[in-house]
């Protein structure tokens, strides 16, 4: 999750040179890993968008007399315990996992960003209170908090999305706050404020541009964490509900059928791994490309 591998630490933001984002074409040309990772993710998104056309069967139509078939021409990954085509279900699974992840990250970004901004800008008591709130969220290992939230609100994708969003808030709050604190004292910001610039203008014209690089990296890593979290919640039965074709949930069922038909678990498992790997790889490559200080 975002507390684990890859989170941008606020100290890095504080010390990073104030840089401009590089052009996209330059990015791709000079850093081939970024190009390849982006390509992989683009493919993933295409699969999700084109699912109705590239999956040859209906993912939720049952066919009980053809249950648990091995992979064949008609069914590239075989069928599941109710005779549904596994390949179709894996393809359609992307239409659940990807949007959920994006929304969760967006929630974390917007809510966290707002909190960080308020805390950094207002300072003093606001800062103290808001940061304690953030600390309270960070007091729990991310997945455990997400599980507890979903266990309380009730299983379902909507609640899973809320839970994952909440867990993403601290990273963005700290990121924004660190940026605000750093820049708040600088001369040109003080000058802009003296001239009467509104907070909105300051955010858009000064804070965000400098935040853009670490932000892009973090978003990519957050997306990876969110997909993984949703898959884990659904695997535990707390996320997607039947008969939704969801990767994590399919692995839950598949785990019970390992003796009988391993593909039920392998198909979705590989899908999750590819999606998460893609976002992590992109984030990693972007970090190397955009912020030399962090290069390893």
């Amino acid at each position: 999750m975002s507390t684990a591998y890859g989170a941008i630490v606020e100290e890095d933001v504080a010390d990073a040179p104030i840089s401009q984002p590089t052009s996209l074409r330059g990015l791709f040309r000079n850093y081939p890993r970024v190009a390849v990772a982006s390509g992989l993710l683009l493919l993933l998104v295409l699969v999700a968008v084109l699912a109705p056309w590239i999956s040859l069967h209906d993912p939720i139509a049952t066919d009980p007399s053809n249950a648990l078939l091995s992979p064949s021409g008609a069914h590239p990954l075989g069928t599941d315990e109710l005779g549904r085509d596994l390949f179709a279900r894996v393809i359609w699974g992307s239409r659940v996992s990807l949007p959920i992840a994006f929304v969760a990250v967006a929630v974390g970004l917007l809510v966290g960003g707002a909190i960080g901004l308020a805390a950094g800008y207002r300072g003093k008591l606001t800062d103290l209170f808001l940061m304690r709130l953030i600390d309270a969220i960070l007091a729990f290992p991310a997945l455990i908090l997400a599980i507890a939230i979903v266990a309380a609100l009730g299983p379902g994708l909507r609640n899973a999305m809320i839970a994952i969003g909440i867990v993403q808030v601290p990273v963005y709050a700290r990121l924004m706050r660190a940026q605000v604190l750093t820049l708040k004292e600088l001369d040109f910001v003080a000058a802009a404020r003296a001239l009467g610039a509104s907070p909105a203008r300051l955010i858009v014209h000064h804070f965000l541009p400098n935040l853009l690089n670490p932000l892009i990296v973090q978003i990519s890593l957050s997306a990876a964490a969110a997909i993984l979290a949703e898959a884990t919640l659904s695997f535990l039965g707390l996320g997607a509900q039947p008969p939704t074709a969801d990767w994590g949930y399919m692995m839950n069922t598949g785990a019970g059928f390992l003796n009988n038909d391993p593909w039920l678990a392998l198909g979705p498992g590989i899908a999750i791994s590819i999606a998460v790997f893609g976002f992590n790889w992109l984030g990693d490559a972007l970090r190397d490309a955009l912020d030399p200080r962090l290069r390893g």
């Binding site: 049952t62 007399s65 315990e81 299983p155 008969p243 839950n252 019970g256 003796n259 009988n260």
Partner: protein, 504 residues
């Protein structure tokens, strides 16, 4: 003389346990050894007073004895009581077995029986009350005779006394155990095995009772129960010899075929006592309309469900009384084959919510039901919920349909009255038919089996045609063991009795 009587009854008891449907009895029994048994979940308590789970009974029947027992054909046989008679319809007298001692050394006698029955009836937290609802009082007339005074005639009482409501524990042990007795019932039973220790979620150990009232029994030195909730783990443990016996429902249906074809394992089954399917709310909502219920009943393809979800291990159900019962009526054909066209003619175009317990098999079943009913224009919304939540909502009648079944009781009354009598404690769907009520009441009050069957046949036909419940399947009672386990009786109540079992 006493010795002869004990021996005679002991032999009868063994005959009851040991005949037919057991694992091979060709070679001579060997004494000794430890039997490792897999349970499909952990127990909550070892005190029959508070017991509410089927799995707890697996341990109880090997530690505690009841007043009466059953044989393969579900006939009531002597247990701690050697004989009984109704001196009048509301007075039941038991003659008790002599020379029996509890594991703590105290004597089994009529006072102990009264103590236990009173305890089951009067303790506030007792879960046995509804089973003993017809009993007014228990009277000790001699150290070996007890008289039950009943409020009303109750033909199902003897069957109730086979199970927990009739289990007699040592009063001294109960008092000594105090508040934690249910976790540590040392010396409490009279059964073939004594309690040694219980480590939650790990193992529960029983050891041989050297003074068991059946001479020469048990053969085993020890029985160790382990809760293995994952059926794949249970299967693996069975194959490696980590466990010797898997209790009913601890191995998933999908793996039964694999067990049958494995020569190191033995599988036997017989129709159980349970019925399964889903409850429907006949009082309010979409199922208050009988036509809707009938449409669902006609549209369902039970054969397909049994083949796909239960891999053919379960049997088709035509009503609440299972094939193992003397009251079974196989004449009911009305819903045996799916008929979507007939269903559409009754009602179509409606939808309902099906509350489904959170597990792979119920979810698979619900999904299949959803698809089958869609063919008849009926929409099902699957609501997966924790089992406890479903029970709460069902009890407060806030549901359309709920995938809840019944583990079943020996006496047909146990599968009928509580479920289908107006106001019955399990009648969540609030089904109410005065004719059925009257038939069920009469069937309880009369003792002649033939007469009772007539009542039950009629009641069953009515409530099945009224679709008081959507019956789908009856689960089996299973003996699943390694080839080294011998003489395990196969009885429809799914309980594994180890008194006569030997390993070798």
């Amino acid at each position: 003389m006493k010795r002869l009587a004990v021996g005679l009854f002991g032999a009868l008891f063994l005959a009851a346990c040991g005949t037919g449907g057991t694992t091979s009895t060709n070679t001579a029994p060997k004494s000794g050894g430890t039997l490792k048994v897999a349970l499909n979940s952990e127990l909550r308590t070892l005190d029959p007073l508070k017991s509410s789970q089927v799995v707890e009974r697996q341990v109880y029947y090997n530690m505690y004895d009841s007043l009466v027992t059953i044989d393969q054909s579900l006939k009531i046989k002597p247990g701690l009581a050697t004989s009984w008679q109704y001196t009048d319809p509301t007075t039941l007298q038991f003659t008790l077995r002599t020379g029996v001692k509890f594991h703590d050394g105290t004597d089994f006698n009529a006072d102990a029986v009264k103590f236990n029955i009173d305890r089951y009836m009067t303790t506030p937290s007792s879960t046995r009350k509804s089973e003993l609802a017809s009993v007014k009082s228990v009277e000790v007339t001699s150290p070996t005779t007890v008289v039950f005074h009943l409020k009303r005639p109750d033909a199902s009482l003897l069957a109730q006394l086979v199970d927990r409501a009739g289990m007699i524990l040592s009063p001294a042990a109960i008092q000594k155990g105090g508040a934690d007795f249910g976790l540590n019932p040392v010396g409490a039973g009279t059964g073939p095995f004594e309690f040694v220790e219980w480590k939650r979620d790990d193992h529960l150990t029983l050891k041989k009772n050297p003074n068991y009232w059946v001479p020469g029994r048990p053969y085993l030195d020890q029985v160790i129960f382990r809760p293995i909730t994952d059926s794949n783990s249970a299967l693996a443990a069975l194959r490696t010899g980590d466990i010797d016996v898997a209790t009913t429902n601890s191995i998933a249906d999908k793996d039964i075929a694999g067990i049958k074809s494995d020569s190191s394992l033995v599988y036997k089954d017989v129709a159980g006592l349970s019925f399964a399917g889903f409850e429907v709310n006949s009082a309010s909502g979409v199922f208050a309309d009988k036509a809707n219920r009938q449409a669902v009943a006609y549209a369902l393809d039970r054969g397909q469900i049994i083949k796909n979800v239960f891999f053919g291990v379960h049997q088709l159900s035509r009503g609440p009384i299972p094939p193992s019962s003397w009251a079974y009526d196989s004449s009911e054909q009305i819903y045996v084959k799916a008929d979507p066209e007939k269903a559409k003619s009754m009602a179509t175009g409606f939808s309902f919510a099906l509350k489904t317990p959170n597990g792979p098999v119920p979810i698979q079943e619900a999904t299949l039901i959803k698809d089958q009913l869609a063919k008849a224009g009926i929409t099902v919304n699957i609501q997966v919920e924790e089992f406890g939540q479903i029970l709460t909502e069902a009890e407060s009648h806030k549901f359309d349909a709920a995938l809840v079944g019944w583990s079943g009781r020996i006496d047909p009354d146990g599968n009928m009255y509580g479920w289908f009598h107006t106001g019955g404690s399990f009648n969540d769907g609030q089904y109410s038919d005065p004719q059925v009520d009257s038939l069920l009441e009469q069937a309880r009050a009369v003792s002649d089996q033939g007469q009772r069957k007539t009542f039950y046949d009629q009641a069953q036909q009515t409530l099945v045609q009224d679709v008081a419940y959507i019956f789908i399947d009856h689960g089996p009672a299973q003996d699943i063991t390694t080839a080294k386990v011998h003489n395990l009786p196969l009885i429809a109540d799914t309980i594994d009795r180890f008194a006569g079992v030997w390993k070798g």
